[in-house]
Symmetry: C2
Subunit: 336 residues, 2 copies
């Protein structure tokens, strides 16, 4: 009873042409006489024919006009904004997007990569979590473009798009110093990723330039997905000699910091967050901002270029970050 899907053969029969001609109408129309095209299209429409992307991809030697994207999870604004930028470029270019998440676990990454590669995607875009992407080397040699977003690949030659992490945090730190702060904390979780290492480096440069030596005392670097941001910031605030300013390493930490400060009725401690968020302007939160959607766009473009030219040197693009002053980052310390 279930009707069968129409194939080129069915359309060909109805239009009195060969299957190959039907195929041409759907991929190299310019090679077919106008009235034939019309006849074929009419038949196709009548039979509700739709080319089978599976068979096409198979025949075409694997080029599927599809890219795979691996991100930590869709619940995180950073990830989905990047995804959004990628998706937009791909749509413009007629590419499909297969999405997979890893819950930010290392095993997850390799496992979903495996699945995606089985789909014969033309390119793999990923925000690396695993500390080693060597497992992709074979695939890269087979012609799959690999582009890393936000963090460069380790032990793998691949294109990447990253942020000016150092510069951003250096600017934030300098601003706090210029407002008179000396006890400047930096909190983040996770910490063992490239972007955080870079941000910390930026912070240290600024501290060193101001002659602040004991900066490490107020670094709180955690790698525990179960740890709540609010509690971490609370630890800092409740310490014997609390910081007078806090830099939060990502947007979750920033919101956690706001909660912790609120809970303590603290409106004196300065705060700068890395990464802007929806209501930051309403709450007057100073942040290091950047364009996550652009991050995705650039990554997609790199992938497209790499598909065109699988050889050639790998490239790394760095996108700017900038400070958006809204209040919390311009507070001066109460005690000198």
């Amino acid at each position: 009873m279930t009707a069968q899907r129409a194939t080129v053969e069915d359309v060909a029969r109805l239009a009195h042409v060969s299957a190959k001609t039907v195929s041409r109408v759907f991929s190299q129309r310019e090679l077919v006489a106008p009235e034939t095209v019309e006849r074929v299209l009419a038949a196709a429409k009548r039979l509700r024919f739709r080319p089978n992307a599976l068979a096409r991809g198979l025949r075409r030697g694997g080029r599927t006009r599809t890219m795979g994207l691996i991100i930590g999870e869709l619940g995180n604004p950073f990830y989905y904004k990047v995804a959004s930028g990628i998706e937009r470029v791909l749509r413009e270019e007629g590419y499909g997007l297969v999405l997979a998440t890893t819950d930010d676990t290392e095993e997850g990454e390799e496992q979903v990569a495996e699945t995606l590669l089985g789909q014969r995607i033309d390119a793999l875009l990923l925000i690396p979590v695993s500390r080693d992407q060597a497992y992709l080397e074979g695939e890269r040699q087979l012609g799959t473009a690999v582009v890393c977003v936000d963090r460069p690949a380790r032990n793998l030659i691949a294109d990447s798009v990253v942020l000016a992490n150092r510069a951003g945090v250096e600017a934030a730190t300098s601003q706090l110093i210029s407002h008179g702060h000396r006890r400047i904390a930096y909190v983040c979780n996770p910490a063992a990723v490239y972007s955080q290492e870079e941000r910390l480096a930026g912070r240290r440069v600024a501290l060193a330039a101001a002659g602040i030596e004991d900066g490490a005392r107020w670094e709180l670097l955690v790698d525990d997905p179960a740890e709540r941001p609010e509690r971490l910031v609370g630890q800092l605030l409740d310490a014997a000699e609390p910081p007078t300013a806090i830099i939060a390493g990502n947007n979750r930490m920033t919101v956690g910091a706001l909660r912790a400060l609120r809970a303590r009725g603290d409106d004196a401690t300065a705060l700068i967050g890395f990464d802007d968020f929806d209501t930051a302007d309403l709450m007057g939160v100073t942040v290091v901002s950047y364009d996550p959607v652009e991050l995705g766009r650039q990554a997609a473009r790199l992938a497209l270029e790499r598909i065109e030219d699988p050889t050639g040197f790998s490239r790394q693009i760095e996108l700017p970050t900038w400070l958006v002053s809204r209040g919390t980052g311009e507070r001066s310390p109460v005690t000198g």
Copy 2:
């Protein structure tokens, strides 16, 4: 020079078995003798063999263990949370997810649906934008499961998962009434969608129950993607007889309302938003809440069930909504 991808044939040769046996090792392992399995796996590993999902899908008559998801855009928290719920279930079940966005345009919907269906997905999940999904009827008959999220399909028999929109807004409205409000506005954009119609209906029920007749005066229903939420709420506030309470029809409108109120130094007008957001607790915003991730999960489950049993009655699931009181919705009107 580019190395070729290994196929079952290559693995078979190396393991001294037939291609069919390799195939069995990768899909019906229990039919193969243990030591043969081992030999094949070793060979596969050496050659970096990975089954070609394209060929497999083709051969298996289209079952690709992949679902397609069509949403408006990834930049909207509602959409990506739903996507997140779906993705999670699919990952557990070993299904892949192909994502496509429409920018909330009608043409976009049918167009990307077409592309996805070309990929021979087993199910199509969508948040309908188009006012008519009849174009999917043929596909449904061919055995593709179709599940609508947040809004039921029109002119198409399909499973769907929706929210208790009426009940949520009815509760919000009643609460405002019980606090003494009579001039209760409702703002939303877009307005010509099922969910908003339902919410409005809920509002009207509550108003009618309280004997408020002229409620329609404070309804601001707009369908213009370019219109800024803040400006719309501003219009309401600046009118001759402004409302004493506002219900915002979605999260963007809620944030827009907060901006408009802030800009006017207004902290008297009550506000209840539909849909919770990240910093709503910090800002004391009362909202009608629900679980968008669960919305996605249920949708994915419906799709899985439909794939199992393509016949059978279509089902509609309604998920609860509830009021979260945080302050802005508990303000009493300044003037009676």
